[in-house]
Assembly symmetry: C2
């Protein structure tokens, strides 16, 4: 019998990240200055990011070397294992071969440290002593807190208040790593104070938290800003995952017929599939499926438009699939998938039909997650459950047709800090949200009219 | 630079468990029938366990083959990685080389599934359809629920009520895997009803929960009982860990100078060190250190005596280090270390001076855990923190003496379901317990006077 796990040795690890920008099937539209409507330049971003990350953001180099210090930290948990889901295959009775690339083995329990460590490194290199950021469910805030501990950088996390209250364990994880965690909206910023003045009980949103972190950053000499998804350099750092996967599949003697992940901002998915997108563009027959919740259907139901990344219109305008920057998604448990937009790189590939999106209500995601847990054992994050649901659907189709497809799942994280959501599912208290078209139309009114450059 | 992780391939996995019984430095005293004072035989245990496990309990075979079906499940997460703790070494500035064998990678997050899977397998083989057990903090209950899901066996877990209330996430983990979880004392058993009649708000104890699970078992045809520690066959199944470790250390070119683990019942520690105990008895210079909490100092302060394993005196008498079966340990966060006794095999080796015990208050354990998390990244369980504390102490001694010792830690589990205890530590709300001698003397009164056979 084949091995249940395919490991790489540390010496086999990819030594460079893969930058997809030179290989895109269409030009990536530049971020725009909302005031002038002109493309922004590196200088505009200098108050926010260290210059090395800004250069990565716009780089046309295909390969960007991973610094030794980042590599040394990666080896604490990387290369992450590629598992064959034998038990799920047996449970479903499918002739498909199902694999999953397991990013849950990092200390933070997800793919997020791949970029958190890299970002902390470049900040450290340029003498930054404090980083501000935002977090929704807490995956990103905890990953950056971990990276801050490793590089001795102070981390300040604005956490969406409803998650801060509902997910105390994620906050504690940040604090254990030494991060400061502030419920947002807060009285630390003008943005926060204005919202609290209107509504002292505001539950907050990711858009608001981004605005607060940005205001915190521009107001302080010692502070830079970090984003856990959406931007090109974040996608870049995540490609360590897909590059490892490529080597692991080769060891297993496999070529993927189907690659499935979940998309919030889209960084795990990008890292997982971008190294294979080039193969697909070169003619290889791979279906690449991005899953998302019906409660926040950016890829399946939103147009490809220029919009702000945050609620308070502080970011540059980004060309992406967007439901409008004022959109506040329903409170589904997959907090990591509650963002009004998507990464420009992933959005472009969806618009170009290279990546196919698919949306699911959260209930069927949890159903799939429990099937998974009772066969494979491991407990997936609610975000990851969306990818598992799609993979089970496809494996069952193979059962009907007899096709022996190779299906690879991006297992982005574990659900150890999401047990309350399993509770809701097991006790029948899970609410599903299908957005009526009028709600989407209303939200879309916040997308600005921008003449494309 | 040496690799940060040493993996074995699945084909290098040990194919048999190691049974230490033929290699003990002194005879293991048999379990006694409390009524007759005579050694019990396999037949006495038949109502509780499948015969194959009973035979393992008394076996004098050095090697016992691991069944294929168990092996196939082990490969979902085994061989578990051996890590070099480079970052901790650097943080401490020690010349010692620190390794840790990481059992937190199992779906349940600890070593417990090593025996849960084996026990479920042998029960399934003998047609058992339901297993009753108890759990303290929930590590064992969740591991057995996982194993029940994999072998399609109904699992019923009596969980100490105070943990049931305080650790809802552990209970949810059991339920996600399909296990039934009942707060103990419960109204399901005579034992439970009697205690509730006296004290409807009883917080419960592990001894009481064992009594309830035993009563549940003997009252039903379809049900057997399972124990997650203490017994010989449990120690046996855990040796997969130490046997892997042996091969991994050989790959790293290392011989351990010091092996450190934490001990509740002692199964993780046994599995970790028993394959090395033989080397030590054969003359190799290895210090083997068992750590425990000062709040439940069975190895450091309790005598080696015959006692009951449970509160209601339903078990056979076992020769072990014991604080008395009526002893209810203070509510420290390391729930897995709150047991009044210890495994007979480990107890014998401590009595024979082969294993050296050492006790720590929980505060210094958490201090060590946070040092660990902020350097190594991973978040240890409160139980595991005791071993980390001792390892840090030893590494700092090496710093003073310049000794380049090889120190290996049994990293028994992660702390993802124990964040409330980190909260208590971080907010200064952790209570330390040193037991006054009078309290130990009082507890010891429950140890029966038994003439040794």
């Amino acid at each position: 019998m084949a091995d249940a796990k395919i490991f790489l040795s540390e010496s086999e690890m990819p030594q460079a990240w893969y930058n997809i920008q030179p290989d895109l099937p269409a030009p990536l539209m530049p971020p725009l200055n909302p005031g002038t409507g002109e493309p922004i330049g590196p200088g505009d971003l200098a108050p926010l990011f260290p210059m090395e990350l800004i250069m990565q953001e716009v780089s046309m180099e295909r390969w960007i070397e991973i610094p030794d210090d980042v590599m040394r930290i990666y080896t604490r948990w990387r290369p992450s294992p590629l598992h064959r889901a034998f038990a799920l295959e047996e449970e479903l009775g499918t002739p498909a071969r199902i694999y999953y690339k397991n990013e849950s083995v990092s200390p933070a329990g997800s793919h997020k440290p791949n970029t958190a460590v890299a970002q902390a490194y470049y900040n450290k290199q340029e003498g930054v002593t404090r980083i501000a950021t935002e977090t929704g469910a807490g995956q990103w805030g905890s990953a950056l807190s971990l990276a801050g501990a490793l590089f001795d950088i102070e981390i300040c996390v604005y956490m969406v208040r409803i998650s801060y209250d509902q997910k105390p364990y994620r906050r504690l994880l940040m604090q254990t790593w030494g991060g400061e965690c502030i419920p947002s909206p807060s009285d630390r910023t003008n943005v926060g104070r204005a919202i609290l003045a209107e509504d002292p009980d505001s539950p907050g949103s990711l858009g608001i938290a981004i605005s607060e972190a940005l205001e915190d950053t521009v107001g302080r000499e010692d502070t830079k800003y970090a984003l856990g998804s959406v931007l090109n350099h974040v996608m870049l750092h995540q490609t360590i995952n897909g590059l490892e996967l490529k080597k692991q599949l080769a060891i297993a003697g496999e070529k993927p017929d189907m690659m499935i992940g979940c998309v919030g901002g889209g960084s795990n998915f990008a890292g997982f599939c971008f190294p294979f997108v080039k193969d697909k563009l070169d003619g290889q027959d791979i279906e690449i499926i991005a899953t998302e919740p019906t409660a926040c259907p950016t890829l399946t139901r939103a147009p490809y438009r220029y919009d702000f990344g945050d609620n308070a219109q502080m970011t540059p305008l980004l060309k992406m699939h967007t439901l409008g920057h004022k959109f506040v998604p329903p409170p589904i448990h997959a907090g990591g998938l509650r963002y009004h937009g998507d990464a420009p790189l992933g959005s472009l590939l969806v618009a170009q039909n290279v990546i196919k999106p698919r949306a699911f209500p959260q209930y069927v995601g949890f159903e799939a997650a429990v099937t998974w847990a009772r066969s494979e054992g491991h407990l997936p994050a609610p975000e990851t459950a969306h990818a598992i649901k799609a993979a089970i659907d496809e494996a069952l189709k193979c059962k009907e047709t007899g096709e022996e497809k190779c299906i690879v799942i991006a297992y982005s994280g574990h659900g150890h800090f999401d047990m309350a959501s399993y509770d809701a599912y097991l006790t029948g208290n899970l609410i599903d949200y299908e957005l009526p078209q009028e709600m989407i139309d209303e939200a879309m009114k916040s997308v600005p009219e921008v003449p494309e450059p």
